[in-house]
């Protein structure tokens, strides 16, 4: 896969999209409520992944980690950009969350039923922090401020949440 991407084969582009568009769009659409804007950002993300692929090194980590960072940064850049702020002045964060949760219900992935159970086992305070940092692009410092808990606590909960996830997958 990585090799095919490096060689810029069309089949690699297809595979890349089919494997990761959902996961990446999940992150992007949690940051950007407007579906069409979120889709634009997803497109930008794939273009960027495609064009800067030579910058990815397998030694530094997994491909998805690299891609999700690109997607998250692009999405955050977008919502911080001026024109986006202007056209979305009235969107509230709460609406955004509700909107996403509604949208999520329409996604059905049988192979993930087990995971759903696990996610439910995440303690709410762990899940909130993980979602803020992973899906909303908060830094752990911002998350600590938002939730009014000490920085150390945020780090611990984050770590515990991820350990929960790992227990299931590894």
């Amino acid at each position: 896969m990585v090799l095919a991407l490096r060689n810029r084969e069309k089949i690699a582009a297809d595979a890349l999209y089919d494997m990761y568009s959902g996961s990446l769009f999940g992150v992007i659409s949690r940051i950007i409520a407007d579906t069409s804007v979120a889709e634009d950002v997803l497109q930008e993300t794939f273009i960027k992944i495609w064009n800067s692929f030579s910058g990815y090194s397998a030694e530094k980590g997994r491909l998805f980690t690299w891609m999700v960072n690109i997607a998250r940064n692009l999405a955050i850049d977008k919502i911080r950009s001026k024109d986006f702020k202007n056209q979305n002045k009235n969107h509230e964060l709460e609406n955004n969350v509700t909107f996403i949760d509604e949208q999520r219900n329409t996604v059905y992935k049988p192979e993930l039923l087990g995971v759903k159970e696990l996610i439910d086992k995440l303690k709410p305070e762990q899940k909130i922090i993980l979602d803020l940092v992973y899906f909303k692009g908060y830094t752990h410092v911002e998350a600590a401020e938002e939730l009014d808990v000490p920085l150390g606590t945020v780090k611990t909960r984050l770590r515990m949440a991820i350990i929960q996830l790992r227990r299931y997958f590894n």
């Binding site: 959902g22 960027k48 800067s52 999700v68």
Partner: protein
């Protein structure tokens, strides 16, 4: 080993994977990872956990987006063949995730913008120069026309002034029109002298003059007969195309006017044999 475990438990590896870490810390984590396999394993486990979590939270984008995205990749694929990006993207992952790629993209855009802006400026400049040149040509033409109109206007004004003067003379009843007739020596000779005895002014009408053209060595000389003696009134040339009136010397009291052909510059007393025209008052 204890150190490594403690390091892992600080939670910094999670932040590293989440991209929520300063460049210095990032370098530090990468150094540690290259030294201790346990840390590498830990990072990989964190990544897998998060990846699975993302997959669980996946949201499928619209169906139509797939073609759109893949087409745009193929388009950029074509572009990339022309402009290899490898060189400046080589170090992307060393720095903060995708920051450098981001910077490159912006630079490319603004470079393009300046390229187009420069081209537009150049085109505008060339167009302006062409317009300036053609305007300048037309301005010069206009200047030429104005100059020629002015000179014609001047000629006209002179002529009008002049004719006004002539008309005044003809209308002025104090002027007497003296018609000189040819002598037997030159019967065809004929000329008119306007004379104002009160103002003592004498004018010769060059237009209404029929005298043989004089050569360079000779000139006609006008005389007035005052108390039986000839008085010099000045010399003039007769040419076929002479126009207007010329003013001669003053005389207030004349019994007759006569014209003789003399050597150029005139003579003190007339050569009677050379008299061509005369008239008595």
């Amino acid at each position: 080993m204890e150190d490594v475990k403690a390091y892992i438990e600080t939670g910094i590896l999670e932040l590293y994977v989440l991209g929520d870490i300063s460049p210095e810390e990032k370098t530090q984590v990468e150094e540690m990872a290259s030294k201790y396999p346990e840390i590498r394993t830990e990072i990989a486990a964190i990544e897998k956990g998060l990846e699975a979590y993302a997959l669980d939270n996946a949201v499928e984008p619209g169906e139509q987006l797939r073609d759109k995205v893949l087409n745009s990749l193929l388009t950029s694929f074509a572009d990339d063949n022309k402009f290899p990006t490898r060189e400046f993207l080589e170090n992307d992952f060393d720095d903060e995730a995708d920051e450098p790629a981001n910077v490159v993209a912006l630079n490319a855009k603004s470079n393009n913008f300046y390229k187009y802006a420069f081209a537009a400026c150049l085109a505008a400049l060339i167009a302006s120069l062409a317009a300036l040149y053609s305007l300048n040509e037309r301005l010069n033409d206009s200047y030429g026309q104005i100059a020629s109109l002015q000179s014609r206007n001047q000629t006209f004004a002179n002529r009008v002034n002049y004719m006004q003067g002539e008309i005044n003379i003809f209308h002025d009843t104090s002027y007497k029109m003296i018609h000189l007739q040819g002598t037997p020596k030159s019967p065809a000779a004929k000329m008119t002298v306007a004379w104002n005895p009160a103002k003592k002014k004498v004018m010769v009408d060059m237009q209404d003059m029929k005298l043989a053209a004089n050569d360079d060595a000779h000139q006609y000389q006008l005389w007035a007969i005052v108390d039986g003696k000839p008085v010099d009134l000045g010399v003039f040339d007769a040419k076929a195309d002479s126009t207007g009136m010329i003013e001669m010397n003053n005389v207030g009291n004349a019994a007759a006017f006569a014209v003789t052909l003399e050597k150029r510059g005139g003579v003190p007393s007339p050569t009677m044999s050379q008299m061509v025209a005369m008239a008595s008052i």
